[in-house]
């Protein structure tokens, strides 16, 4: 795991190595100071040697300045290394996600991906900086101070060594205890946030059923639980500070007592005693710092795991070695196709599909939710690979095409479609970035989108908000169709893409397709019979199998599912769709 992460340090390796070196230099200079001070006292003040005081004083100031420069350097390169590392992580993850196939994408939730790219990276950035700076600084400071202390007086310094070991053990116990409690506490905390979220988004229901009081008292109960759990968890940490103080004070008193005796018996000098006391803080504070860094690093390990997961995820679709760059025509053939989303042991969602669609045909696809209509069409542009069997487009297996060529020739209007922030024109040009304004307008005319675009004050320059939230569902769908048309594909697939368009416009769009792009093979998935009944042929899907395939008339006669749906929808059980998208 660590290896995968560290690979992303890349050009910031130098900074990552320099930073701890600077930190060690800073620490070294810092620890020099009490040591030199001992010399000032013992060899200067006590012997009355002013010159010695000046000389050592100058060295001390020089040490402080070198320390300052080293500290600044450490800060500078630490920032560079950690920010650069974060930048590389974000970039590599983002780039890798762009390589994901549909089945890779399905594995992660959108929210999950976003958290990984944002919060998790920030956590790692902070942890990395912490490791580079504090993680070297604290132990270095402790070791330096310890060495200095030992060189002054080894016997007295044993007190520090003992204190460090005892305090270290106590801190580890406290911290591990506390993290255990915190680990239990956080899911509860998430639950509480989930319930707030629920109330925010369902506020209309709460108010409509006059449940405000009940919701408030329910929330108060949850918030009581949170209170109790967190008090319990934090009570563990409360010991940190006093125990630390206890140890420091204990050391000071012990050293004072023993030190006094040693001075009297002339095995220690006063200045040395003072230095020893000064190192006490250095040693124990670094230990404290170290324990805190440990907790932070252990907390960020979850983030690291999540990031590595993305970095290591490999797309399960690969371009062939010698790809075909030309799609001959818009014919489609399915040969004994089986397909399952999950390779291991899952029931296939498509079973033994055999189909032969001629170039330029209009094919309707109808069936219940879960009958795998979408799965069927997603295989054509190789958004997923078949589990068994073969799909041929223009007479060539889809796996032999260059993926980009295939997807440009097989244009899919997805069921869950998205517009991006930018102008309408910019969105349209996703289909073809070199499309002229006239070509864009033509595509919009075909998709019946021009009528409402022209009514916008800024026309084609109208700004679309993120997710297309400032246009209605029907308008969005029509823009998405126009965008797909701009590819001038050989095969056009509409996956329930006119559900929010009113029936009259829906019919108009289909009419336009028939007249303007007769050579394009058109596959139309729909819930409404009216959307497909004029197609050349209609596929009726049922539980992953083709239940019927033929013209409207044929199916009415021979296919009971089709007939049932038709009856229900025309007898008045159908939808009265008024979402004209105005």
């Amino acid at each position: 795991m660590l290896q995968t992460l560290l690979k992303e340090v890349k050009e910031y390796k130098k900074a990552s190595i320099i930073t701890p070196l600077f930190m060690i230099l800073e620490v070294f200079m810092e620890t020099m100071i009490p040591f030199l001070m001992a010399s000032i006292i013992d060899n200067g003040v006590e012997t009355g040697n002013i010159e010695h005081i000046y000389r050592v004083g100058a060295i001390m100031i020089a040490a402080a300045f070198i320390g300052l420069l080293a500290g600044l350097g450490g800060g500078r390169y630490g920032a560079l290394a950690s920010c650069g590392f974060a930048k590389n992580l974000r970039e590599s993850m983002f780039f890798n996600i762009q390589k994901f196939s549909f089945s890779n994408i399905d594995k992660y939730s959108t929210a999950g991906l976003i958290t990984r790219l944002t919060t998790d990276v920030t956590n790692i950035q902070n942890a990395y900086q912490m490791i580079l700076r504090m993680f070297t600084r604290a132990p270095a400071s402790m070791i330096c101070a310890m060495i200095m202390a030992f060189s002054i007086n080894a016997r007295l310094s044993c007190i520090y060594l003992a204190a460090v070991i005892i305090l270290g053990i106590i801190l580890i116990v406290i911290m591990s205890h506390a993290t255990k409690y915190f680990r239990q506490a956080f899911p509860k905390y998430d639950d509480m946030n989930a319930s707030i979220q629920e109330n925010v988004s369902a506020i209309r229901v709460v108010k409509a059923f006059v449940r405000e009081d009940e919701e408030i008292s329910k929330f108060k109960k949850t918030s009581d639980i949170i209170y109790r759990i967190f008090v319990k968890a934090e009570c563990n940490l409360v010991y940190n500070m006093p125990i630390m103080q206890f140890t420091v004070y204990g050391c000071i008193l012990l050293i004072s007592w023993l030190g006094a005796k040693m001075i009297v018996s002339d095995t220690l000098q006063t200045g040395e005693l003072m230095s020893l006391l000064a190192y006490c803080m250095n040693i124990l504070m670094s230990l404290m710092m170290l324990s805190m860094v440990f907790v932070m690093i252990s907390m960020s390990s979850a983030s690291a795991k999540r990031i590595v997961e993305i970095l290591n995820e490999e797309s399960d679709l690969k371009n062939p070695k010698h790809p075909v760059y030309e799609v001959a025509d818009g014919s489609i053939e399915f040969r004994h196709v089986y397909f399952a989303y999950n390779k291991e042991g899952m029931e296939p969602v498509l079973k033994d599909i055999n189909l032969n669609i001629h170039s330029g045909e209009t094919i309707g696809i109808i069936g219940q939710t879960g009958s795998s209509k979408t799965s069927l069409v997603n295989l054509i542009s190789r958004l997923y690979d078949v589990s068994a069997g073969q799909i041929l487009v223009g007479g060539v297996d889809v796996r032999d095409y260059d993926m980009e060529v295939l997807r440009n020739q097989v244009s899919v209007v997805l069921q869950k479609n998205v517009l991006f922030s930018g102008t309408i024109l910019e969105n349209l040009r996703w289909g073809n970035k070199d499309a002229t304004l006239e070509e864009c307008k033509e595509a919009c005319r075909l998709a019946c989108a021009d009528e409402f675009i022209n009514r916008f004050p800024q026309g084609y320059e109208t700004h679309i908000e993120q997710g297309g939230n400032n246009v209605s569902g029907g308008q969005k769908q029509r823009l998405c169709i126009a965008r797909a048309l701009l590819k001038q594909p050989k095969i056009l697939i509409l996956d329930d893409s006119t559900s929010a368009v009113d029936t009259a416009t829906d019919a108009k769009i289909r009419q336009a397709f028939l007249e303007k792009i007769p050579d394009t093979t058109k596959l139309i998935i729909a819930q409404r019979i009216s959307s497909v009944q004029n197609a050349d042929r209609i596929i009726v899907m049922d539980e992953g199998c083709i239940h019927g395939f033929g013209t409207h008339e044929e199916l009415l006669k021979h296919d009971e599912i089709y007939k049932e749906v038709y009856d229900v929808q025309t007898r008045g059980g159908g939808d009265f769709d008024e979402k004209a998208g105005e």
């Binding site: 004083g57 320390g67 996600i97 108010k207 006059v210 008090v231 004070y249 980009e404 998205v418 008045g572």
Partner: protein
């Protein structure tokens, strides 16, 4: 993103106004804490004082140790260590008290912090539940959520760490300063000058870091926004082979973020070494000056005094360091506190209604109020003029009389709506998205108040009816099913907290939900999570119908779901809805032919006006907009 921009704008404003503003928030926050934890806080201050003084006296002891014990001991021939042992014992006692105090105040602070947060959460939530719908329309849900998560989180850090540290630092600074002055005045001045330099240096560094920090936040917002949008549209990117372009744009934004983050962090990192090393310089200068002073015994300055002073020198710069480190956290917390208090200050949904809904029995054809549940309801109208009481039977008549409505006064979205629904009638609204169908239904339950005209329920102006009672008399089934975390049973009971087990099952049966519920692993006790994510769309709808059925209201508002479910499930849902509508006044935002056909009256809305009304047959004959919509289905 928007918030970031605001922040930036605010920061650019007068910084003095800014500080004053933060001070105001700070004072309010303090007041808020003191309200429930005043005694705790006083205790904390006292305990911190004890802890600091224990520390200071310990440092003072170093001087005594050298001057009063070691030096005389060195001079005496037969050193007697008993006085030293006593002294150390005394100091140990003080230290002990300090440690105890330190434990206690940390322990109390846990209580204060978590208690304050609990109170704050409860206050926020209670207030939020009572806010008008308008608030939720005008505030992004993510922003509301971030008050509970991010803002409270930064406050937690501030209350639990920054505040005690401030108190601690303040007391330390004062007591150390006094001690230093006692020990040696000239050296104190040297220290103060060095501290002045330190503060100035760190201020410059912090200022620059702050500037870049804001820039970083802006860029971070841009990157996050871009990530969010692209992850949302990942499949579209694939379908259009747009990976390269997407990567390119990301790289641009990411590089920008890196540059600003690098700068911000660099200057923030400078803070530590500047303070630490300048502190060392101060220490060295004092050591040299003090050494000379001690050498010449100027003003009776001793070696022990120097030892103590040097420790004080260190403990003087430390709290200043800490304060400057905490300052950023405090500024951020204050921005959070402002948002928290702003939500708490929001105006609650007003309710000036006085007509209430009561249980009644009919005695000799007259309505009589009674306590117990009778299944018969009436409006209790206490006339304000003479306090006489009228009981009006709850029937479910709804009348709109020339109603105008706009979300704000200058943009009216509904014009002159007239409609009359007799008890038990079914009224269907059809029309394009944005024509105002949902808006009309939101007026009946007073999610919004109308600008002009009157809405009457059983002949009473709905403004006179207590909102809770008005809403209790209205059932609602929305397109978004909005189920809650809890069991299936709890979700159905949501419509009527007093519903018995039998009533719940009856409601489920009426809604055609009983069948699938029984097939769930734990039947009616199956837990639902994430708005019922473990159920299918159709099942969720059935539950929301059952919920409305449990409430058993005389008037129903239905928003039919659009065609995202398949025909068979749809029929089950439809059947459940039909059963629910039976015998109730129903306002339905219709999407299905059958619903429209069975309606007593169809309202065709366009741009906030009713342009056609009548039964299906009448409207077909008219050959107007309705005819167009209807036949659109047949054009094929």
């Amino acid at each position: 993103m928007k918030r970031q921009v605001n922040k930036m704008a605010r920061f650019k404003g007068n910084s003095k106004v800014q500080i004053k503003h933060h001070m105001k928030q700070f004072c309010r926050l303090m007041g808020y804490i003191f309200q429930s934890y005043g005694i705790h806080c006083a205790l904390v201050v006292i305990l911190i004082l004890i802890s600091v003084l224990a520390n200071v006296q310990g440092t003072m002891f170093t001087k005594n140790l050298i001057d009063n014990y070691i030096t005389p001991l060195l001079l005496s021939k037969y050193p007697d260590f008993t006085p030293l042992a006593h002294a150390i014992g005394r100091v140990a006692g003080f230290y002990g008290a300090g440690v105890l105090a330190s434990y206690l105040y940390n322990r109390i602070m846990v209580e204060v912090t978590q208690g304050t947060l609990r109170k704050m959460r409860n206050d926020l939530f209670s207030r939020m539940e009572r806010l008008p719908i308008r608030y939720f329309d005008t505030h992004a849900h993510g922003d509301i959520m971030s008050i509970y998560t991010n803002d409270i989180d930064t406050l937690r850090q501030m209350i639990s760490q920054s505040i005690p540290q401030f108190i601690n630092s303040a007391i330390t600074i004062v007591s150390v300063l006094i001690s230093m002055l006692i020990l040696n005045i000239p050296l104190t001045f040297v220290t103060l000058i060095m501290v002045g330099i330190m503060v100035a240096a760190s201020k410059t560094s912090a200022g620059r870091s702050g500037k870049y920090f804001l820039e970083q936040q802006m860029n971070l917002g841009a990157v996050n926004g871009y990530i969010e949008e692209m992850m949302e549209g990942q499949k579209v990117i694939k379908v259009f082979c747009h990976e390269e372009e997407t990567n390119q744009k990301f790289k641009e934004l990411n590089d920008k973020l890196f540059i600003s983050a690098n700068r911000a962090n660099t200057f923030a990192n400078f803070l530590g070494p500047i303070n630490a090393q300048l502190g060392n310089v101060s220490y060295v200068v004092c050591a040299i000056t003090g050494g000379i002073l001690a050498l010449h015994h100027v003003g009776g300055f001793t070696l022990g005094g120097l030892a103590s002073f040097l420790t004080f020198n260190k403990s003087f710069s430390m709290p200043i360091n800490q304060i400057s480190m905490q300052l950023n956290a405090v500024v951020m917390a204050m921005a959070g506190a402002e948002r928290i208090f702003r939500l708490m200050d929001e105006e609650e949904e007003a309710d000036e209604g006085y007509v209430t809904l009561v249980n009644v029995t009919k005695v000799n054809g007259k309505l009589q109020e009674c306590r117990q549940h009778t299944g018969q309801w009436a409006w209790k109208h206490v006339h304000q003029a003479d306090q006489s009481v009228d009981y009006i039977e709850l029937k479910g008549d709804v009348v709109f009389d020339s109603v105008d409505f706009g979300y704000n006064d200058d943009k009216i979205v509904l014009h002159d709506i007239q409609l009359f629904a007799k008890s038990g009638q079914k009224i269907a609204f059809v029309g394009s998205t944005g024509a105002g169908k949902t808006t009309i239904t939101n007026l009946i339950n007073r999610f919004y108040d109308i600008q002009d005209g009157k809405i009457r329920y059983d002949g009473i102006n709905i403004n006179k009816i207590k909102k809770a009672d008005l809403r209790r008399s209205l059932g609602i089934v929305l397109q978004d099913t909005n189920l809650f975390t809890g069991t299936v049973k709890e979700n159905i009971r949501y419509g009527n907290p007093d519903a018995s087990e039998e009533e719940i099952i009856a409601a489920a049966k009426l809604a055609n939900a009983d069948g699938f519920i029984r097939r769930l692993p734990n039947g009616y006790d199956t837990m639902l999570h994430g708005g019922g994510a473990n159920l299918s769309q159709g099942q969720r709808q059935l539950l929301s119908i059952a919920r409305a059925a449990a409430a058993d209201p005389p008037v129903l508002i239905l928003d039919e779901a659009t065609s995202s479910i398949d025909t068979r499930t749809e029929r089950i849902v439809q059947d459940g809805m039909d059963k629910l509508m039976h015998g109730r006044t129903t306002f339905v935002i219709a999407h299905r032919l059958s619903t429209v056909r069975n309606s007593d009256c169809i309202m065709v809305l366009e741009q906030g006006k009713i342009i056609e009304r009548g039964t299906h047959e009448q409207l077909m004959e008219e050959q107007g907009r309705y005819y167009q919509l209807y036949t659109g289905n047949v054009i094929g």
